[in-house]
């Protein structure tokens, strides 16, 4: 049981800076996901937590203890690797027993033949056996203990890797894209199992992925990373609905959020793509900003003009209950995508002119620097909950 505090971590590989002054507190028992495209530094950060890499500056605290000089085994962390990194020459049982053997048996007791005759070795070995069997059973791999990794399916290997991490009851679980080697169906199933595992163990999980579906379904909080920096740390629903940064809004959600350049005409009115929308913005007239409108925010409008966008239908994608309508708007070089209910499908055909509107309060506004412009209207729900509040 431990909280984790990442404090101003820098990491460079030669001239390339991979992490820049990154700070992130993680609460005890929290499931935190590091989400970002490949090369954003999320795996490096995880490896620094594990002690497999050494940071150039900053410090890591696990359970209020600075672990910077400590070796991986002294940090009370366990890790599940993307490739699982099971020892191919050992049985499942030996794979899972290894962390316990390394911890509880002395170097002499681990000697190949002699070790068996050292006092206490048989007793400790028997205890380890019992724990391994219990853990394996809890993961549903009890019947596989005598097999070698080469004889297991992808999902079974994944469970063995989790079992090897679980068996010694670490304070923090580190997982580096543990599901990316599985096929789509198994991935969904294992996702549920990892969620359940976290609920059962109640310890801190730090999970690295580039898959937003995994991040959204598993996490208590998601930390979105890009180019070695944290863009936002928030619960999944806030990451989606209330992004701090244009890049977060663009990274999360599929199809991608529509980004439209607009100019403030006067208070409460914004000119965009040949129309004017009634949106309250905390900006002066004449100021340029960007409107982020998720596809599902759009609804069909009866007529054009004020409050609606007008374009011609380029293409329609039927997705069952919904359809994605691609609209060409005047002055826009890429089409707008609107997600509409399929019931309206027969009425829309390519080439047709369509009017769509969006509820002003669901339109996200971003300044020219990409930061979110929040409206100071109504209640005090002005920004995301400060991080400190969550971490107690």
């Amino acid at each position: 049981m431990a909280s984790v505090l990442i404090d101003s971590i820098d990491k460079n590989y030669g001239p390339t800076s991979v992490l820049r002054g990154l700070s992130l507190p993680i609460a005890d028992g929290e499931f935190l996901t590091l989400l970002g495209p490949s090369g954003c530094g999320k795996s490096t950060l995880l490896r620094i937590l594990a002690g497999l890499e050494v940071q150039d500056a900053g410090s890591v605290l696990i359970g209020e203890r600075a672990v910077d000089g400590l070796k991986p085994k002294q940090r009370d962390v366990a890790m599940v690797f993307q490739s699982y990194a099971l020892y191919p020459h050992m049985t499942v049982a030996s794979n899972m027993a290894l962390p316990l053997r390394m911890r509880r048996l002395s170097a002499f007791q681990r000697l190949p033949l002699l070790g068996r005759f050292m006092p206490a070795t048989p007793r400790i070995a028997a205890e380890i056996d019992v724990e391994v069997t219990r853990t394996a059973k809890s993961l549903g791999i009890g019947h596989l203990l005598a097999r070698k990794p080469g004889q297991l399916s992808g999902g079974q290997r994944q469970r063995v890797a989790v079992g090897r991490a679980m068996v010694r009851h670490p304070a923090v679980f580190l997982m580096d894209e543990p599901l990316s080697n599985l096929d789509a169906k198994l991935r969904v199933q294992m996702r549920a199992e990892i969620k359940e595992l976290h609920r059962r163990l109640g310890v801190t999980f730090v999970y690295v992925t580039h898959d937003q579906a995994e991040a959204m379904t598993l996490s208590d909080r998601v930390a979105v990373m890009l180019d070695g920096e944290l863009l936002q740390v928030a619960p999944p629903k806030d990451i989606y609905a209330d992004p701090d940064d244009r890049r977060v809004a663009e990274f999360i959600g599929s199809p991608k959020i529509n980004m439209l350049d607009g100019v403030v005409r006067e208070r409460g009115l914004i000119d965009v793509a040949g129309s004017t929308l009634a949106i309250e913005a905390d900006a002066r007239a004449g100021e340029h900003l960007t409107l982020g409108i998720r596809p599902e925010v759009f609804h069909l409008a009866d007529h054009g003009g004020q409050g609606a966008l007008t374009g011609s239908v380029r293409m329609i994608e039927h997705m069952g209950s919904d359809l994605f309508v691609h609209l060409d708007l005047a002055g826009l070089d890429h089409p707008l995508i609107a997600r509409l209910l399929a019931e309206r499908a027969p009425l829309i055909s390519p080439g047709q002119t369509l009017h769509v509107g969006a509820k002003p309060e669901r339109v996200l506004l971003f300044g020219r620097d990409g930061r979110r412009l929040r409206r100071q209207v109504g209640s005090g729900r002005a920004s995301v909950t400060p991080i400190r509040e969550i971490t107690r």
Partner: protein, 282 residues
Amino acid sequence: MSANTRSNRLLQPSATVRHAILLATGALILVPFVWMVSLSIKPPGEIFGTSFSFWPAQFYGIENYTKALTEAPLPRYMGNGIIVCATILALQILFCAPCAYALAKLRFLGRDLLFGMVLIGLLLPHQVLSLPLFILGYQLGILNTYAALIFPYVVSPFGIFLFRQFFKTIPDDVVHAARLDGLSELAIVWRIMVPMALPAVIAFSIFSVVGHWNDLFWPLIVVRDQSLMPPPLGIMVFKNEEAGNDYGPLMAASTLVVLPLVIAFLAAQKWFVEGMTGGAVK
């Protein structure tokens, strides 16, 4: 990875110990080379004296090397080696590449049988075949000629195997595109496959040249005439018949025989290691 270089890894050989041991074993490995070169530049008096030094008091290299080059037809031996190795290599590539292409990219009745033949050929130690091949050479009347040195090696099962493995990694679409462009099958082999498989060709060339430059067994059997001898056989004859205990020139000749490959190796270490270990499938 920084994990490997962390200093507090108990029992890992420290850098000093590592260098000390490797320099010591390396020095031991090099002793025969050093001794050979050392003797090749010493006068007979120093060679047979009891003094103990690698560098001679009196530099006698010019005399020894001159003697090696004139008393034994050493340039001739080297020339023979080059002729034989080059011809063997050219013929091997000429015959192996089309066969490997057929095995890798064409479907035909008997392909598995042919590949089985190649694998069996890989398995056979060449020395076992020497007696029948000698008889064959005798029947053809080519014993004691360059042809005798060359003919057993004109096709190499290892070459076919290596090229096939490499050709298999080239996408079929490349072959299809070449056919649509109007290339004949033979043109595909020489203008598409072999250039694309250049790394394999280089590796095989090194493997082949090193093997045949160093071969003693077969030349010993089929060549009697000194003017046809490749370097290993030549230097052995030089030792037995002429040099006897005349160590200086003998060592000079040995140095000259070893030198070309050693220089080539030091110049292209990576390729040589690859070529020689690629041969490990045999």
